[in-house]
Structures are given as C-alpha cells and as structure tokens.
Amino acid sequence: MRMKSYLINGLLCLSFCAGAMPSDQAKPTLVGEPAATDSLHTRICPIDSLPCPDGKTSLHERYVSNYERRWYKLIPRYQKVQFAGSMGFMSFGTGWAYWKDRMESDVFLGFIPRYNDKHAKLTFTIKQNYIPWNLPIGDSRWSFDPLTCGIYMNSILDKRFWRSEPDRYPDNYYKFSTKIRFHIFAGQRITFDLDGSKTLHQSVSLFYEISSCDLYIISAATNRYLKPKDYLSLSFGVKLNVF
C-alpha cells in the first residue's frame, strides 16, 4: 500500500515537473462548485474532457475521474412510493438502475398504521427488480414495460418480532422468523418522459404489482381452501426518475 502511494506521488511529481498541469482555462471544476453549465453530470465528471498538453490526462486526473465515476454510480437514480404490497401501508424508497436499466435495486422505509396493535410500526424493505423489456409507444413520450418482476425482503422494525427465536424457546420451536418476510412479485409499468427543463424529474412511471410472501405461499400450497384473493397482494406505485 505504502509503496503504491509513493509510486503515485512520484508519478504525480514527475508530471508536475514536466509541466503537465492543465492550464488555467482547463482548471478542473471542484465537486459542488457551481459551474456555468450547471447540469449534475458536468459538475461531477468534468475531468473526462480535460485536455493535457500531450493529449493525455495525467494519472492523477484519471484516478480522480475513475474515483468520481465510481461514487457517481452510488447516487440513487430515482425515488419510489409504493402503496400496500404486504410491505407497509405506504413505503418510500430510492434506488439504482443498471445493466441497461433492466435491473433496479431499491431500498424502502414503510409504515404500518396502528390498527388493532399497540402502536404503529416501521418496515424496511430491500427489493430487486428485473425489467426485461421497455417498449416505446409510437412516437409519443410514453413507454411501456410489459413485465416487471423480482423479489423483496421485508423486515418489521419492532422488538416483539424476532429474526431467530429467542433463547427461551426449545431449539427449532417455531422454525420461522416473524421479523423477515420474503416476497415475489410481477407487474407492469408505464413511463412518461417529462420535459426536463421545466420539471424536477426526467420522467415519471406508474406501476402495479401482484405479490405474495413466503408464509402466504406455504399456506396456499398446502390448502385448496385458500384462493388467489387470500394469498395475493396488489400494490400500486409511482417512480420518479431523477436522471
């Protein structure tokens, strides 16, 4: 590690001595500093376009560029609000799209109103979406995802619920977790491209999903009595695409 940093310092020093520093006009814009063209991408990744006298970017600049690009990927791309779906009354989330936007990973915080319980409860959900197709609708600003599907894991944030049985029980007493639920879902989605210059968001999507959770599926699998309306859950949501 130490050797490597000496090496990098040495190389940076060399490039400085060789007069490879960018000129004043091409001075790198710092992250967060307001720039003339104030779009998020140009502010964060200015270094891609930096020319060097010899036509190459310096090692440091490339390092910073990659560094920023990597962190840039960690900025959530969208916000989601989901109603029902056995993960809470309303859940508010954010997430990341990748693999040509065919994959989305979300995290949600949801809440369950009190109803007949002692108090309301918070839930936490991580969700993995697979969206194999995105079909434009003619020349319009609408597009359609004929299938969204995936899995999510929901945790109820309440001390009465346990991930594994408390010590007071004999071993393998209940053989399941009251706290963690696994769900599968499938649904559809429609997206409208907004005029980015006048709106906060790039586009907005509306979706619905049909889902079921592990305990509902186990119950349904062993009984003819249970019908789809008993073990399936319908939910609706909005996705706001930031960029």
Binding site: S86, P113, T123, N223
Partner: protein
C-alpha cells in the same frame, strides 16, 4: 395496466394487503362474547349438554372446513370449543381465514388463545377478534372456564396463568351451576406452561365449584391423563390435521366422551 384495473374491480380491497402483521381486522370482532350469548340462551334449562372439542387448526384449513361440514351434519351438538392455535404464524389473515370457516358452523363456537396465536402481534388480533384471553360461560348447569396458559410467550409483566382471574371464578357465587370444566391450550407440565406454578394452579382449580375435568389442545394427539394423581382428568384433542374431534356429553351426574374421526 388494463388488467390491473380489471383485477382491482374484480377483487376490490380483498387484494390490498398492507402487511401480514398489520392487525387490520376486516371480519367479525368480539366473537366469543357474541357466541356465548347464543350458547347460554340455547343451553338454558337443558339437563344434558353435548359439545365438540377440537383445536390446533393452524395451517389445516381444508381439514377444518371438513370438520365444519361434519358437525353441520349432526343435530346433537350444542356448541364447539376451539382449544387454541387458531393460526400457525400469528398473521392477521390466518385468524380471518379460520373464522370464515368456523362461522359456517350451525352451532356457536368459542376459541381459546394458543401459543401460535400470540407470536408477532397475533395476540392483538386475537383480543380484537375473540375478546379477553381468559373467559367463562355457562351452558345448562355447567360452567366453562377458559384460560390462557401459554406462559412461555409472555414475561412476568403479563400474568399467565392469571391467578386473579382464576380466583374471581372461584368466588363467583352468583351464577347457577353445579359443575366446572376448565379448558386451556397448554396443559400443566407442557413446555409452554409456567411449571413453577403447576401445583398451585391445580390447587386453585380444585377450589372451583364442582371441578369435574379439564380439556386442552396443543400436543396435537389424543391423550388422557390424571396429571396430578388427584382424580382430575386432563383430556387432549388431536390437531385438525388428524381429522378427528372429541365429543363430550354432560349428564347431570356423569359425563361421557368419544372421539370422532371423519
């Protein structure tokens, strides 16, 4: 999208589920109190009472549905006692599924609380749907005392079994009855029971007027035992999985029981 709207119009709110443990009860509430009114009025003045005892419906909905059909074929049963473990996971929907089956009984039924009904926040659903965890009622000249005995599910801040409640039943001299039958989900010396107080529990039960025998569920198999060697029998019904139930006939001076398989 059109199919979503179609589904929604077809099933409406049935498909909207906030959480398996949301405690959002959509069906009947205060069931035990309502059913007890029916039991007490139907049995008033009768010499001989016949009731069916079953329990541990848990995840055996098909078998429970068949049980209801079996009971409805008979005309000699006055009421049904569910010995607890209505649900398997303590989920809100499970309680409603079981009541949707059991409410089709042509006779009234009451349900005790089992250990599976407590986990998560199941007890809150039980309290809303069925009522108090300890309750009693009169059928003819018989008093039924139904107790929460699932001690392992609670800490010391919640008394299980509740001796104050048991004492209130001993001191009740206002009701007219000759015999007491105690129903519970877990029997003394079961792994759920607070076995430190098993003997005091029995001591108190025997102070009840005309204590005849006790019934319990939980062990999922038929069983009979004089647990304390003092002549008070404890009878256990099997779970619904076994497709069987017990029938007790209470005569003025004696009782009889049989096991029915279907």
């Amino acid at each position: 999208m059109a199919s979503a709207l179609f589904l929604f119009s077809l099933c409406g709110c049935d498909l909207i589920d906030y959480h398996p443990y949301d405690t959002r009860v959509k069906g009947r509430t205060d069931i035990n109190a309502k059913e007890i009114v029916r039991i007490e009025s139907a049995c008033a003045g009768k010499d001989t009472i016949r009731f069916a005892f079953m329990g541990d419906t848990q995840r055996w909905y098909d078998q429970t549905e068949d049980f209801v059909k079996e009971i409805n074929k008979r005309s000699d049963i006055d009421f049904v006692i569910h010995g607890g473990d209505i649900s398997d996971f303590g989920m809100t929907k499970e309680f409603e599924w079981v009541d949707n089956i059991m409410k089709k009984l042509s006779v009234p039924y009451v349900a005790l609380i089992g250990n599976h009904d407590v986990i998560g926040n199941g007890i809150q659903v039980y309290l809303k749907m069925y009522g108090d965890e300890n309750f009693s009622f009169i059928a003819g000249r018989n008093r039924f005392v139904c107790l929460n005995t699932n001690s392992l599910e609670f800490d010391y801040s919640h008394p299980v079994p509740d001796f104050n409640y048991i004492k209130s039943q001993i001191n009740d001299t206002t009701s007219a009855y000759d015999r007491t039958i105690v129903a519970m989900h877990v029997q003394p010396y079961g792994e759920q029971f607070d076995n430190n107080v098993a003997e005091p529990f029995q001591y108190y039960l025997k102070m009840m007027k005309g204590l005849d025998f006790c019934i319990h569920a939980h062990i999922h198999r038929l069983h009979e035992e004089d647990i304390f060697g003092d002549g008070v029998m404890y009878y256990a019904c099997a779970s619904m999985k076994t497709r069987s139930y017990m029938v007790f006939t209470l005569y003025p001076d004696a009782y009889a029981y049989e096991v029915v398989s279907y």
